[in-house]
């Protein structure tokens, strides 16, 4: 029931490859490529989060922090020490993995509300650190002058080039994650979600798996953060606040938690809603988010990714 077939992935990849070209043909949407860059960055985070929340059943309200750590490590090391951006990205991943391990090991022993609180508190503490350590992070004003990325001297200086870079990362992460889901690891994760005692009685090291997935999702968030920092050439703390963690939750819930496609759909949809389609509602767009989240929770517990299944069932009966 959870087989993820190759065909949709191929269609998805083709869509990504041709997207900038299509956007260029239609003047009304030619800036969509730019928005898609951010959609891709968020997608990278939600893919990991979907594995953590949907498959392994562990809640996290602190992933904005990992996103921020990635971004700030990239920013600080390039701006203050002049390191190579790619090296910074790797260091960011290492730092994030270490932090995730440190926080995850004790946190993931907790369940339900306690885990939610621990990750929430962690996220806020990291946010405060971004604000307070002015000498390192530039404080609330943020840090400017972060260099862009280049590959072998080829500068990724246009929106389209960066688009392909980001979505290349997304596709790689997506395929990797799908493989994990369809392997013994994925099975073990779903087993943990269904019944921890039974999973451990079958020899699944529950806490090790939970921590592993927590670290994996944190690493993806960190990569996304680095990509963000090098694209915008600027970071400031408010990008990584609590509301961003909640927005990630909205993305996943809207897309559908139990399906990896949900992560992609949710991230894409919410990005376009917030950067383009909800301007009409001005600041009241938060009400729209709230309403989406509530309606989806009540009427569409499987999220948008569950709609095809519902339609199929409906036709069958």
């Amino acid at each position: 029931m959870l087989r993820i077939t190759k065909l949709p992935i191929t269609i998805f990849a083709l869509f990504i490859i041709f997207f900038p070209w299509i956007a260029r043909q239609i003047p009304a949407i030619d800036h969509y490529t730019d928005i898609m860059v951010f959609a891709g960055i968020y997608c990278l985070i939600t893919i990991g989060l979907s594995l953590l929340m949907g498959y392994a059943g562990q809640i996290s309200l602190g992933h904005a922090a990992f996103y921020g750590i990635g971004a700030y490590v990239s920013a600080i090391l390039t701006v203050r020490y002049g390191l190579n951006p790619w090296a910074c990205m790797c260091i960011g991943v290492a730092v994030t993995a270490a932090v995730a391990l440190l926080v995850g090991a004790p946190s993931l022993k907790l369940k339900g509300h306690y885990l939610a609180m621990a990750t929430l508190a962690f996220g806020i503490i990291i946010f405060i650190i971004f604000n307070e350590e002015i000498e390192w992070t530039g404080g609330p004003d943020g840090m400017a002058g972060i260099p862009g990325l280049s590959i072998f001297g080829f500068e990724l200086d246009s929106v389209e080039k960066y688009f392909y870079l980001v979505w290349g990362f997304v596709l790689a992460a997506f395929v990797f994650t799908v493989n994990v889901i369809q392997s013994g690891t994925g099975r073990a994760l779903r087993a943990i979600h269904a019944s921890e005692p039974a999973a451990s009685a079958m020899g699944v090291d529950v806490s090790r798996f939970k921590i592993m997935i927590f670290v994996y999702s944190a690493v993806l968030a960190s990569l996304a953060g680095s990509l963000y920092a090098h694209y915008l050439n600027f970071v400031n703390p408010s990008t990584f606040d609590l509301f961003f963690s909640i927005k990630l939750l909205i993305m996943i819930a809207l897309g559908g938690m139990h399906n990896i496609w949900g992560a992609v759909i949710g991230a894409g949809l919410i990005t376009f809603l917030s950067y383009e389609w909800l301007h009409y509602f001005e600041e009241f767009d938060v009400i729209v988010y709230g309403a989406i989240l509530l309606l989806v929770t009540i009427f569409l517990p499987q999220g948008l990714a569950g709609v095809p299944g519902i339609v199929k069932d409906w036709f069958r009966s």
Binding site: A116, E132, I246
Partner: protein, 300 residues
């Protein structure tokens, strides 16, 4: 201006901490009432506090209702909002799991916040202090009369709740639901009504917290989130479900913030409280008063 002594400073931190902590404690008690009956953590709890403050401003300042009338009117209105929350956001959920319920209450809190912004705008509002603003000096520390109102109302809420749960039939019925919902429904208790009641009750308590804190710190539409986090922290610190724990947790978090800001670093004020909370979670996950096995039997 004469320098105040360290002892007076410490006393001042304590007074401030206890006042702020009382508000957190009331939020935490609200969390627990709902949690005990339903095992739901209502992330919209902070919004009740915000609504309490703003609706009170509307009744008392804008409509000119006297304090005696505006106070109950506000509490009743917020209570209704609490009941609506249960009926519209919680009860319709078909597959309740911890995760979906957390998401649903977060969604509700976003909607309530947005609605408040729509009605009141983003400006903060002021409420006159209940009994003037002439500070009382006590051993070199300054106490605003309103501080006493806040702490006083916490005490009142505690006493009223313990009478409610121990002496009244409805209160006992609610406790029964909390201990074993199936058994309760077997003996004829309407569990759904008890859940509704728990939302009403905790919304009412939130309103009281909001009304009493507004004269000190003003009130605007987006206060709820931070209050909810602190209140939730207090509830967890004390042990989810334990009322004495909630009060102690609230007062501890308030005091850590106040002493942390005064003695160590004001920038990291919020971080201190959360760090202590995380430490407690990591080393004694059931909280100060909580016990995973018997947490649900805890009462006043």
């Amino acid at each position: 201006m004469e320098k105040i002594t360290l002892a007076s400073q410490l006393l001042q931190y304590l007074i401030t901490g206890l006042t702020v902590g009382s508000v957190y404690a009331m939020v935490a008690v609200g969390f627990n009432i709902i949690y005990n009956v339903t095992e739901i953590i209502n992330f919209a709890q902070g919004e009740f506090v915000m609504l309490g403050g703003l609706i009170m401003v509307f009744f008392h300042v804008a409509m000119g209702l006297s304090l005696i009338l505006a106070f109950p009117a506000t509490v009743i209105l917020v209570t209704l909002v609490g009941m609506l929350l249960d009926r519209l956001a919680i009860r319709p959920i078909r597959q309740p799991s911890v995760l979906t319920l957390i998401i649903a209450t977060i969604a509700a809190s976003i909607i309530i916040k947005g609605a408040a912004m729509f009605i009141w705008g983003k400006d903060p509002y002021d409420l006159p202090a209940f009994s003037g603003r002439n500070p009382i000096t006590f051993l070199g520390a300054v106490i605003q009369p309103q501080y006493l109102w806040v702490i006083g109302f916490l005490v009142f809420v505690v006493i009223a709740l313990s009478i409610f749960f121990d002496r009244t039939i409805i209160g006992k019925a609610m406790s029964a639901c909390a201990d074993n919902a199936d058994a309760a429904s077997l003996v004829g208790i309407n569990v759904k009504q008890m859940i509704l009641l728990s939302f009403a009750l905790s919304a009412g308590i939130g309103a009281v917290a909001g009304i009493t804190m507004t004269p000190i710190s003003l009130m605007e539409y987006d206060r709820g989130v931070m209050l909810a986090i602190k209140g939730f922290g207090a509830a967890i610190l004390g042990g989810l479900g334990s009322f004495p724990g909630a009060i102690l947790g609230g007062l501890i978090i308030g005091s850590i913030e106040s002493f942390g800001a005064g003695l160590i670093s004001s920038g990291y004020k919020d971080a201190f409280a959360l760090l202590v909370l995380m430490a407690v979670l990591f080393f004694k996950p059931s909280g100060i008063f909580g016990d995973i096995e018997i947490s649900k039997i805890k009462r006043f």
